[in-house]
C-alpha cells in the first residue's frame, strides 16, 4: 500500500495562511456588518429624534406657541440654555453675532430655555437677543438625549441642515470658529 504522500510543509503552511485569511475576512465582514447595522440604527434614531425635535411646540416668552419646524428650510441651530446656566449665557453673544452676520443667508438660531418666562424675557432684552427663544424645554431636553446629550446637560447645541437632518451636536459652550466651520458649508447655495 502506498501511504498518501506526506503533504509538503510549505503547502501546509500556505493552506493555513489561506484559512487564516478567510477567517480574517469573515471576521472583518462580521464586524463591519455589526458596525454598519449600529450606524444604521444610530442614523435611524437620530432621524427620528430630529423629526421629533422639529415637531416640538413650545411657548415663546409672550406665551404664543411656536413650532420649531416653522424654520425648516433654514440652517437651524437649536440651542438649549437657561439663565441660571452661566456657560450658556456666555456663549450667546457669539450666537447673536452669527445670527446678525448670516441670518440673511438662511442661518436661524432658536433657543430652547429650560427656564421660566420672566428671567428669559429679562435676559433676552438685556442682551439684545436677535433670534427667537422658546420656554419650558425640559421634555424637549429629554429628547436631546437621543441626539447625543447623554447627560441631558446644558448648553447643548444641535445643527440641522436645510433638510432638517442633524449635522452636528455639541455639549458645552460653542467656540464661534467651530460653529462657523460646521455652519458655513451648509449655508452655501
Amino acid at each position: 500500500m502506498l501511504a498518501p504522500p506526506d503533504p509538503d510543509p510549505a503547502a501546509r503552511r500556505s493552506s493555513w495562511r489561506r484559512w487564516a485569511l478567510v477567517a480574517g475576512v469573515v471576521a472583518i465582514a462580521l464586524i463591519a456588518g455589526i458596525e454598519l447595522a449600529r450606524y444604521g440604527y444610530r442614523a435611524a434614531d437620530e432621524a427620528r429624534a430630529a423629526a421629533a425635535l422639529l415637531a416640538v411646540e413650545l411657548p415663546d416668552p409672550s406665551g404664543r406657541v411656536q413650532r420649531i419646524d416653522q424654520w425648516r428650510g433654514k440652517v437651524l441651530v437649536v440651542n438649549f440654555w437657561a439663565t441660571w446656566c452661566v456657560p450658556c449665557r456666555e456663549e450667546m453673544p457669539g450666537f447673536i453675532k452669527a445670527q446678525a452676520a448670516s441670518g440673511g443667508r438662511g442661518l436661524q438660531f432658536v433657543g430652547i430655555a429650560v427656564d421660566k418666562p420672566e428671567p428669559v424675557q429679562r435676559f433676552a432684552s438685556e442682551l439684545g437677543l436677535n433670534y427667537p427663544t422658546l420656554i419650558g424645554g425640559l421634555p424637549a431636553m429629554v429628547l436631546s438625549r437621543e441626539l447625543g446629550n447623554r447627560l441631558v446637560a446644558l448648553p447643548f447645541t444641535i445643527v440641522l441642515d436645510r433638510g432638517g437632518r442633524v449635522v452636528a451636536t455639541h455639549l458645552g459652550p460653542v467656540k464661534p470658529a467651530d460653529l462657523h466651520a460646521i455652519v458655513d458649508p451648509l449655508l452655501q447655495p
Binding site: W84, V86, V114, L151, P155, V167, A168, T169, G172, D178
Partner: protein, 159 residues
C-alpha cells in the same frame, strides 16, 4: 475650555467635518452631586450632598420635602459669587450638610424625603433641576443616629 471642540458629528458625517470627538469626561448629575440622608435623632434629618471637585450646587435651588411637613432647613454658609445677571449668587462646593427638622409625630416611622437640587460643572455645563428621593427610618424618641441612606441607582444594561 475643557469642552471646546468636542463636537459630535452626526451619522452620516457632514461634508468636511471630522470624526466624532471623544465625549468630554463629565459626571452624571447623581455622581457629581451624591445625595444621602440619615436621621440624626427622632426629630432631625441630616441631608448630605457630596459634591465632586469642579462641580457646584446653587443654594437657592435646594429644596426638601417629605410626606410629613418639614421644618426650615438649616443651610450652612454658602460661597458668594458675583453674577452679571442675577447679582450675588450663593453656591456650595465640597460636602454640603443640611439639618432638617422633622415634626415630632413621625418618630419611629419611615419618611420619604425628596431633595431638589441643581448645579453646574466648572468645565462649562449645567444640569437641569434634579429631584432625588430616599426613605429614612426615624428612630424612636431618645434613640441615636441612623445609617446614611443613598437613593437607589437605576442601572440599565448599557450604563
Amino acid at each position: 475650555m475643557l469642552l471646546a471642540g468636542a463636537w459630535t458629528v452626526a451619522a452620516p458625517p457632514a461634508r468636511g467635518a471630522g470624526l466624532p470627538a471623544a465625549e468630554p469626561k463629565l459626571l452624571a448629575p447623581e455622581e457629581a452631586f451624591r445625595f444621602s440622608a440619615r436621621a440624626l435623632d427622632a426629630h432631625t434629618l441630616e441631608v448630605r450632598f457630596d459634591i465632586a471637585d469642579g462641580y457646584y450646587l446653587y443654594r437657592d435651588k435646594l429644596g426638601f420635602e417629605a410626606d410629613a411637613a418639614l421644618g426650615t432647613p438649616a443651610l450652612p454658609e454658602a460661597l458668594r459669587k458675583h453674577d452679571a445677571f442675577f447679582g450675588e449668587v450663593l453656591t456650595y462646593r465640597g460636602r454640603l450638610v443640611v439639618r432638617v427638622p422633622v415634626p415630632s409625630g413621625v418618630a419611629g416611622q419611615s419618611l420619604a424625603l425628596k431633595a431638589a437640587s441643581q448645579g453646574c460643572a466648572d468645565a462649562g455645563v449645567c444640569y437641569p433641576p434634579s429631584l432625588q428621593q430616599v426613605k429614612v427610618a426615624l428612630p424612636a424618641a431618645g434613640a441615636g443616629a441612623g445609617p446614611l441612606v443613598e437613593p437607589e441607582r437605576k442601572k440599565g444594561w448599557f450604563n
